[in-house]
Symmetry: C2
Subunit: 428 residues, 2 copies
């Protein structure tokens, strides 16, 4: 018995410890929770004030309910749910009153059947509409609320006489709930979906650059793989691989947000998705690049390795500065100043290809008299694969660059500033 | 004006056409919608029957509400939401009655403040718990319902005297709603999350095999790329790349499902996630392989190409039969009979490496007198990359195989049957 209690206590303690770690790791989560507490407390005080209660009667609880279900982490998600809830409720209420009128006209005997048929048809149709991509992306929650309100109002309409008054009260309480929720979420440490998407893309770019850098350095220098920090850097691309869903939902929510910070109301969020996809395509290549590190036949002849090391390291450092530069350009919302970098990149690719050519010549023209000093094709396969993937990455980085440039045009980024100014900007 | 109407009519027509296409494409979606209509109609008839109404009063509408919000596409998701709703409501109701008692003991003046403090603390804590991974995976909806019920009951408790009766009624109506919903979803053409996951993994395996096949054939035969069917096959791996989220949510829901079809209650669904991850790793490689097809420098010398064509095609056909075989083994829930295939695969890899070796020798030992007839290293880089990636895929296919074997052990698959029997089984 004692053992059981101590075991249980230990489990609870572990759970609290985990929770504490999560909180320390990302204090914004804690703020998110406190904000919900605040919104709930505010709405409960509203409820305790007689005037509101007397005006709405039992319907006042719909305001509390609205706060709980509409409250989300980002402003965009909350606005999306708020507007969907209002639109869904209004449209459904309007239709339900009409159906109720038709049903009562047909006499008490047929009423349940007419109501049943309408609930069946409209319920099914609204559910089906949720499968249509554009409805799914923008009005999924609204369709759910439509079904809910429509069924509640038509069915309960059988009993309640003051249908119109009830509908109006319900809409008012929902407006009170959503307004309070929106005010709390927008005024107390707001988290904007658009800004989150913006930062996520920049973060992914930096992760990509670090992974690429780490991978190439490791391949040529054989530095210690077990160093934890370098390992985290190296594997950063993995979180890029799986961030698609997150990006898409952020972009969906960002659409609903008003102008905030550097972003206008109709900021081209879809363009961020294109950039995200380009980054992911680069990450696939890095994944393949990583296998050259870990594959068993990693015995690329040191002689040849030395010949391409210089140009490979240069190329990868140009890549990562280009990607980081693109990230900075998004961050500062200025047109990317990567023209020079891409010239350099092309030069580096050319240089690498020249290196390969000279290796190729040396292989082809080697006198058969002294085959030991030269590596065979078999021995340099991992190296050749590595270099080929690196060259492929060059073209994919250009795709990222084009996508960022397009974003710059559509979102009307300012012109690139001189490097000096840019530094000042960062210090602010 | 006339133009506007015809434009609007055209838009509506297009929308309906799209909807029709979606329905024809996947009739299960239509069935899903009709099932919700059925559940709603049933619950509305229950509502129209006096006894239920008189028993529960206005709380009867909670049954309708429960049906709408708990209804999901798969049995697992519906059960997850149903159980979470019941648990969340019960726990919150129980706690809320306690808090209400404490609040009333302290006198009418302090009551709102005590209620406010409790709502703040428990609301925040429950919201925070949703960030903890295990709670998120299994009790996310329950935590939301907890907050909702707790706030509603504590706050409205200030007015309603019959708190216990109300709580009991609410739980009863929720039980009625969830039972009806569960019955409809389990009896009328049920869609099981577990089965969906099972089929998704098998489908992804087939897509992977087809992509790989198509890619290798295209590389060596230069068949028409614009053929639509072969293009779909070739790009099948793309949907594998982004199926992670889907797999994870299916596995989460499948946990809640009772034994159905071939699956026991505690079928090891997490193992399917491991297989899915292994499939995805293979797909990353195929993505890189595809770049060898489309890269501009696709001029691999035809002489060399012919030398490895045989072994490459053989290897890829072994891959795809191995992957398809693994898929079939999951489908029939028998242990994979791929032992032979892997022997063959290793032989094919060996053969390919021998081919490379002989090419390597011919390059190294070529007399400088006639350099025109032999390709240079530069020319065969895409080919070498292609072959290296193919060999890498061999090791990744083995990872899939190991994961499937582990599934076979954990889920106690039957032993592999003889090929003859297996065919009979398929015909059934």
């Amino acid at each position: 018995m004692k053992g059981l209690i101590s075991w249980f206590g230990f489990k609870v303690w572990r759970f609290l410890e985990r929770a504490w770690e999560i909180g320390v790791d990302d204090p914004r989560k804690v703020i998110h929770c406190l904000k919900l507490g605040l919104a709930l407390t505010l709405i409960s005080f509203l409820y305790f004030m007689r005037p509101l209660y007397e005006g709405f009667g039992k319907n006042a609880m719909w305001a509390i309910m609205t706060v709980v279900v509409v409250y989300e982490q980002t402003v965009g998600a909350t606005l999306y749910k708020s507007l969907n809830r209002m639109i869904g409720t209004s449209v459904a209420g309007f239709l339900a009153v009409g159906v109720h009128w038709v049903a009562t006209q047909s006499g008490q005997k047929y009423e349940p059947f007419i109501v049943g048929i309408f609930v069946f048809i409209l319920g099914s149709a609204a559910t089906f509409s949720r499968f249509i991509p554009i409805v799914k992306a923008r009005f999924d929650y609204g369709a759910l609320i439509f079904i809910l309100t429509f069924s509640l109002v038509t069915i309960s309409g059988y009993r309640v006489d003051e249908l119109l008054k009830m509908a109006q009260q319900r809409v008012s309480t929902i407006i009170i709930g959503t307004s309070l929720c929106t005010i709390v979420i927008m005024l107390v440490c707001p988290v904007w979906a658009g800004e989150e998407l913006h930062n996520l893309i920049i973060l992914n770019m930096n992760k990509l650059a670090n992974s690429l850098d780490g991978c190439v350095t490791l391949f040529f220098n054989n530095v210690d793989q077990n160093n934890e920090e370098s390992q985290t850097k190296l594997l950063g691309y993995k979180s890029v691989l799986s961030s698609k869903g997150n990006e898409e939902s952020m972009a969906n929510f960002a659409r609903w947000e008003p102008a905030h910070g550097q972003f206008n109301f109709r900021h081209p969020w879809e363009q961020y998705l294109k950039i995200g996809a380009a980054i992911r395509r680069c990450a696939y290549c890095i994944e393949a690049l990583n296998t050259c590190l870990t594959s068993d036949n990693h015995k690329a002849s040191q002689v040849i390795k030395k010949q391409v090391k210089g140009s490979c390291l240069r190329l990868s450092s140009i890549f990562s500065s280009a990607v980081k530069e693109l990230g900075k350009s998004i961050q500062s919302m200025r047109k990317p100043s990567t023209v020079n970098l891409f010239g350099e990149m092309n030069n580096a690719v050319q240089e690498l290809q020249n290196d390969l050519k000279s290796i190729s010549d040396s292989l082809n023209l080697s006198p058969p008299s002294n085959p030991q000093s030269l590596p065979t094709l078999m021995e340099i396969i991992p190296l050749v694969t590595f270099v080929a993937l690196l060259i492929e990455i060059a073209s994919r980085v250009e795709v990222i660059s084009n996508a960022v440039e397009e974003l710059g045009n559509v979102a009307e980024f300012k012109d690139a500033e001189s490097p000096k100014k840019s530094k000042q900007n960062q210090n602010n």
